[in-house]
């Protein structure tokens, strides 16, 4: 089976080389047979990488330790779910996952372009297959997942205990779907540049792909945060680790792109800017993969370091230089008549949002690579850690939140004073009231008051807008409010989906601001029966338990939790687990979660029955995860197929077909 996987990878590599050449020559020389052959090749690559992936999974599940990769990252005692996720625990598997996901997307693009986008399709597929050639080349020549050991070891090395977490299942997969997903809009963009069809066709064709990639990149980041919070056991969810930053940067630029394409669609402006954004997003996705794998910067994610660095740098250079060359080549066609009706308009507010998002990405980028810059310039290694990123990005993000409230409600073209007053007066008043209320409740920190005021402002601009829409629909259609709300959202999915995403981001931001500003921490050493207090909670330590499980040794402490009026709330059992194959124990935190905040307990160490704990109160952390769920719902609404849109597309397709046929007749 594993030999089959290896052979499948070799053939997949050869076919992807062939496909790239076939679609290119087929399109250049106008040979439809060759084109069709190339397109089939893309599908064949998908079948083959699927086969290879299945083979690797099979090797994991059957404990085929002669396969070096399986030996390195699994053992017999792993449960099925971790055997499945051990697939991407190391470099070879991660790269195979990249190639596998890309091949799926390639096949989908072949399907999507069977009738439409006939002009762009060859070059879209050329870009996709070229990237497949890159990854399959690495998988065949330098980082082989099916490499074999000489002997057959009786037992595997085991999975790093930190990776034995449900997060391992969701975080890498969603992140990769996001990273790889941006390949498709990037490929369409390059195709538009090559063919000179620089209208908004390529943007319209990739709206869903962009949303899809964006949603999964968001999910990947959130799952990563959730995993860090629940597994790494330090009480936080975001540590500004270089690899975290690396997945955050394409998110920022991708978000900017998601917004600025709307201007091109409406006004035909900003063509070069949009191309620049999607190229940057894609290059940053590759950069993210590169950082994880190269070991240039030390990170919690560097599970295996390798010599792939130069190859990835090469790819990034090719992507950036190639795109720049194409833009230069097409510059005369990219000039758009840039006109605005007013300085105060949706268009301009979107552009300011773009400056902020790209500025934030730049700040994160500079912070991430600054250690390298410093070493090159001064010869001194410095660290750029959380305090830097928090200080630098916080004000930028506050401006971003403010713009989030303002942008969607400023009219397109020109916003009148009435428009501004109508949309912003009440939310502004409510925000001022909210700040006053928080101040009365005893919150004095200026940044928190500012942040909470802004989030309240944005929250109510969105709610007001949705409410007005519902009321208008209720009046005109006579439906009750609930069904009016349903038909409103369903009638304009992209718009209201967007509002819901913004609501999610605001809920998330509230969680972040509160948990960053008001984390309370207490370290205590207790004997059984002794209690410690943190805020209103009293935690009584009952004793230690040590027991073996199937795979590890576990030590847990039992803590009874009481509230202020001495009512027992729950029992928490923070612990540590030991796995034979690793020296360091892994903390298993125990958390009591409510909407108001988390009581987060860590067992730090013990001596006989005396135990050292760290207790944390993390306010409103649940809001971060809830905001994430709202955001996902909004993105799905925006993504959902739209009957009206489908009708419009069908009409456009019919027109285009007629035009193509006429063109064919003429020639």
């Amino acid at each position: 089976m594993t030999q089959m996987g290896q052979i499948a990878l070799v053939i997949a590599f050869l076919i992807s080389v062939f496909s790239a050449a076939a679609v290119l020559i087929g399109a250049r020389r106008g040979l439809p047979e060759l084109m069709t052959s190339g397109r089939r090749g893309v599908v064949a690559v998908w079948v083959l990488t699927t086969l290879a992936s299945a083979a690797l999974w099979y090797a994991f599940i059957t404990h085929d330790f002669q396969v070096k990769y399986v030996y390195q990252y699994s053992s017999r005692d792993l449960s099925l779910i971790y055997l499945i996720s051990a697939f991407w625990a190391g470099q070879e598997g991660s790269l195979l996952l990249w190639a596998f996901v890309l091949s799926i997307f390639g096949a989908i693009v072949v399907y999507q372009t069977r009738k439409r986008n006939a002009d762009l399709a060859p070059y879209v597929l050329l870009v996709i297959t070229a990237i497949e050639v890159f990854f399959l080349g690495i998988l065949n020549f330098s980082s082989q997942p099916f490499a074999r050991l000489d002997g057959i070891p009786p037992e595997g090395n085991g999975l790093n205990p930190m990776l034995a977490n449900p997060g391992m299942f969701f975080h890498p997969t969603t992140l990769y779907l996001g990273y790889v997903g941006f390949t498709v809009p990037f490929a369409f963009c390059i195709a538009a540049l090559v063919t000179g069809r620089l209208g908004d066709q390529w943007i319209k064709s990739t709206r869903r792909w962009t949303l899809f990639a964006w949603l999964f990149l968001t999910l990947g980041n959130l799952f990563g945060a959730w995993w860090a919070y629940n597994e790494l056991g330090w009480g936080g969810y975001w540590g500004w680790d270089p690899v975290e930053s690396a997945s955050f940067m394409p998110w920022l630029v991708g978000t900017a792109y998601l917004h600025s394409v709307m201007i091109q669609q409406r006004r035909g402006m900003l063509k070069v800017w949009n191309i620049g954004l999607i190229v940057t997003t894609f290059a940053l996705s590759i950069f993210g993969t590169f950082l994880t794998r190269s070991g240039v910067l030390s990170s919690v994610h560097s599970f295996g370091q390798s010599n792939l660095g130069p190859l990835f740098v090469g790819l990034i250079v090719v992507v950036v230089v190639g795109a720049l060359g194409l833009i230069w080549h097409r510059l005369p066609n990219l000039k758009s008549e840039n006109q605005l009706d007013s300085l105060v308009s949706r268009e301009s507010s979107f552009l300011f949002n773009n400056v902020i998002l790209v500025g934030a990405a730049f700040a994160v980028f500079l912070g991430t690579v600054f250690p390298l810059i410093s070493e090159a310039v001064r010869g001194v290694k410095v660290t750029v850690g959380p305090p830097f990123f928090n200080t630098v990005t916080a004000p930028i993000f506050l401006v971003l939140i403010a713009l989030m409230g303002v942008c969607p409600l400023i009219g397109w073209r020109r916003a009148s004073r009435d428009n501004l007053l109508r949309n912003f007066l009440y939310p502004f008043a409510i925000a001022v009231f909210a700040v006053a209320l928080l101040a009365v409740l005893g919150i004095r920190e200026a940044p928190v008051l500012l942040g909470m005021g802004l989030t309240a402002f944005v929250l109510f601009t969105i709610l007001l807008e949705i409410f007005r829409g519902i009321r208008a629909r209720h009046r005109t259609s006579g439906k009750d409010y609930l069904s009016a709300a349903g038909s409103l959202v369903w009638g304009n999915k992209p718009r209201y989906g967007g509002y819901i995403v913004h609501l999610g981001v605001i809920i998330l931001a509230i969680g972040i601001i509160a948990s960053q500003a008001y984390q309370v921490e207490k370290e205590v050493t207790l004997m059984p029966g002794e209690s410690a207090q943190i805020k209103d909670f009293t935690l009584t330590y009952r004793g230690l338990d040590a027991y073996p499980t199937k795979t590890r040794e576990v030590v847990t402490a039992t803590l009874d939790v009481y509230d202020g009026s001495n009512r027992k709330l729950t029992v928490l059992t923070p612990g540590k687990t030991f796995q034979a194959s690793t020296e360091n124990p892994v903390s298993e935190v125990s958390v009591r979660t409510t909407l108001a905040g988390d009581l987060y307990t860590i067992l730090e160490g013990w001596e006989d029955q005396k135990a050292a704990f760290k207790f944390l109160i993390n306010p409103l952390v649940l809001w971060i995860w809830l905001g994430g769920i709202v955001l996902i719902v909004g993105a799905i609404v925006a993504f959902w197929p739209d009957a009206r849109e489908a009708k419009r597309d069908a009409a456009r397709l019919a027109e285009a077909t007629v035009a193509v046929e006429e063109g064919a007749n003429e020639s």
Binding site: G233, W234, G235, G236, G239, D241, P242, S298, S299, V300, N338, Q339, L340, D341, S342, L343, S348, L351, F352, V355, I356, V358, G359, F362, A363, L366, G367, F370, P371, I373, S374, V377, R378, V380, K381, V382, T383, V384, G385, P386, P387, F388, T391, V392, P395, I396, A446, T476, S477, E521, N584, S587, I602, E604, K614, R644
Partner: protein
């Protein structure tokens, strides 16, 4: 003048907040947040729970008990491990690049964008003048009539559109 007085007040308020946050006595947590754990975990000392972090924490508590200032303690660790032990670059010399450039970039980008947009808006207005001169002001009676017509057409559109 008023604006100037207001911004003066705002600055004073900010300064007060700034000074207030710096008036506290140094705690070990303050110091631990500014130092990176040296076990290779890429976390600050305050949150890492490995042996290296524990030793560093003990040292920090010891120094604080001796009455050393935060700067003195940080200087000690820099002497031990080099500048890389600090969790953020110092705010002097070449390191200022990291601190200043992001804000400068946003400021330059924002200002540049403002001027570009203003130019575009001017261009837009010039093109729009002709159109505007053709538009008659609408009387209140007309507005009502238009509104009715809009309602009726929307209704018709919805009935036909949903069919």
């Amino acid at each position: 003048m008023k604006a100037r007085a207001f911004s003066g007040l705002l600055l004073a308020a900010l300064a007060a907040v700034f000074l207030a946050t710096h008036a506290y006595a140094v705690t070990s947590k303050d110091v631990e947040k500014e130092l990176m754990c040296q076990c290779g975990c890429t976390m600050v000392v305050a949150v890492c729970d490995c042996d290296t972090a524990n030793q560093m924490r003990e040292k920090i508590s010891g120094f604080i008990a001796q009455g050393q200032s935060k700067d003195q303690i940080l200087a000690y660790f820099v002497g031990q491990y080099g500048e890389k032990v600090l969790s953020a670059p110092t705010k002097k010399g070449f390191n200022l690049v990291a601190w200043v450039v992001p804000f400068a970039a946003v400021a330059v980008g924002g200002t540049g964008l403002f001027f570009i947009l203003r130019a575009w808006a001017r261009r837009g207005r010039k093109g729009g003048e002709v159109e505007e001169s053709l538009v008659r002001p609408v009387s209140p009676e007309d507005v009502d009539e238009y509104k009715d017509r809009l309602e009726a057409e929307l209704k018709r559109f919805k009935e036909e559109g949903s069919a």
